[in-house]
Amino acid sequence: MRPALLRQVAAFVATVVVIQLASVAGEKAFLLTQLTMSAYYTLVVLGLSLFMGYAGQISLGHAAFFAVGGYTSAVMTTFDLGPFRSTAWVAAAGKVGLLATRTDAFGSQVLAFHPWPAMACAVLLTAAIAFAVGVPVLKLKGHYLAMATLGLGTIVYSVALGTATLGAADGISGVPPLPVLPGIAVGGNGSRIANYYVAGTVLAVSMLLLLNLVHSRVGRALRAIHGAEDAASAMGVDTAHYKVRTFVLSAAMAGLAGVLLTHYNGSIGPSEASIMKSVKYVAIVAVGGMGSLWGTLAASMVLNFLSLRGYFGTLDDAVFGTILVVVMLFAPQGILAIDLRRALRFLRPTRGAPAEPG
């Protein structure tokens, strides 16, 4: 692990702490809630940034993985297995310690899966779906890939919206908190500050792992694929392998984020799987610079925070749409990489030059 990277992560952790202390001091501790939520959405964006920025692919359906993770965990921890107590597998699961009894909001006893196996299942399921879908779909390129991922996202959304067991339009609520350490749990009536630090820790660890990945041989292979896939392939880089792996990793991250946020909020709804959510993730990746992890993290925290606090009001979708257009036209490498002179050259009419594909 390179010392430079460790320093970066340490700086990040320090920032997290400073913000928390500042918020308490300024008596705006309630802001920590939106920061925590933003952190979990940022987890999705980071994974997507790896896939889009480094591997150079596109996914317009990543919200689907978030939803799969969240819904799986929600269902498993809320579906009352009480009536099925006597069946073989429920009894077995109980013996192994996978189940937990708790009292739900209405006061009745619910026998459901403990959040930990639920979380594990959720992430594994997300990864499995990503793998199954990724292998055929990632053979496509450009707009075909974009459309395929869009289609997948729409299917998950339709299923979430249309299935009664998944709560249809209302989604699932009453999701129990996810215990992390004795006394600390994600969600529930747990301390706002504790939750904030849990989220911060998750982000810090993720950044550590991603930075490590990106600066390793794998990272270089990914960049080679992004730069010139055919050339990379000719040089012996197993492009399909890397693309699928990156896809699965980014999907797993999204799934994990879904689990954590669902337990934090205590609920999940079909809107988490909507196309607009996927598009927002892409917009943030674009702003942060495809391929700049810290830039993406910063962009994501800021934009998600503002959106969650309602600063964009009813124009929320419009803001992200505008971001997409503006960033793609003027700063495809991300805001931080703007070269104003080059950007302004776009304002002069070009000389009949034909558009080049790819």
């Binding site: 000389r351 009949g352 034909p354």
Partner: protein, 248 residues
């Protein structure tokens, strides 16, 4: 007719041409020879406006066209037969020629258009035969003729050809160069760029040698053909082959 002064041009951050200066007088055939990657195609593309120069001037009949869009340059009388032919593969031969006449629209009307088509078919009889065929089904040589015919439909005063012999059999190459001479005789000025230095210099009046983006030699075609450096670098192989076969 064409004067280029200290031209720098390239793609993105890559500079391909450095301080290139050439000129072409009316009625001449000028050849630019050089190896692959020397920048010959870039030069023609810059002249016609597909690439924008970084520095220097491109003067066509006295006017600086370095910032003029391709559309206007073609209308002003400078046409390019691009590298690789670039015909409209899924359109018929006739439609290809029709499109070449775009800049002549309005001048001469229907009768003028028909006269132009007849003239081109006279120059390239095979095109008349295949007028209803899709351009993509033509042979390499026929496509080259189509591309040249298409460019000629625009009544160019300066006709530029980018590697006309590329990918063509030697016999066809000979036909193409014969036609270049005929086009010149009919009044057009020709600037051609070629890897096949021997054939190019044999039909040209003057020539330039372009090496990695700069002009290294210039002179009449006789001077260049006789020049030992040129012979060694660009004519060696051809010279041996031709003397074995008994060159024309």
């Amino acid at each position: 007719m064409l004067r280029i002064r200290n031209l720098d041009a390239g793609y993105g951050s890559l500079t391909v041409l450095r301080r290139v200066s050439i000129h072409v007088k009316p009625g001449e055939i000028v050849a630019i020879v050089g190896a692959n990657g020397a920048g010959k195609s870039t030069l023609l593309k810059t002249i016609v406006g597909l690439v924008r120069p970084r520095a220097g001037e491109v003067l066509f009949e006295g006017t600086d066209v370095s910032r003029t869009p391709t559309e206007a340059i073609v209308r002003a009388g400078c046409s390019l037969v691009p590298e690789g032919r670039q015909v409209f593969a899924d359109m018929t031969v006739w439609e290809n020629l029709l499109l070449g006449a775009h800049v002549q629209r309005g001048k001469g009307g229907r009768a003028g258009l028909q006269a132009d088509l007849d003239r081109i078919c006279g120059l390239f009889p095979v095109l008349a035969e295949r007028r209803r065929q899709l351009a993509g089904t033509l042979s390499g040589g026929e496509q080259q003729m189509l591309a040249m015919g298409r460019a000629l439909m625009a009544h160019p005063r300066l006709l530029m050809l980018d590697e006309p012999s590329m990918g063509l059999a030697p016999l066809i190459v000979r036909d193409i160069f014969d036609i270049v001479v005929r086009i010149s005789a009919a009044g057009s000025t020709v600037l051609l760029v070629e890897q096949n230095a021997r054939s190019a210099l044999k039909v040209a009046h003057r020539g330039y040698v372009l090496e990695t983006g700069t002009i290294t030699m210039q002179g009449t075609s006789e001077e260049l053909l006789a020049n030992r450096d040129v012979q060694r670098a660009y004519l060696g192989k051809d010279a041996n082959e031709e003397s074995e076969r008994g060159a024309p």
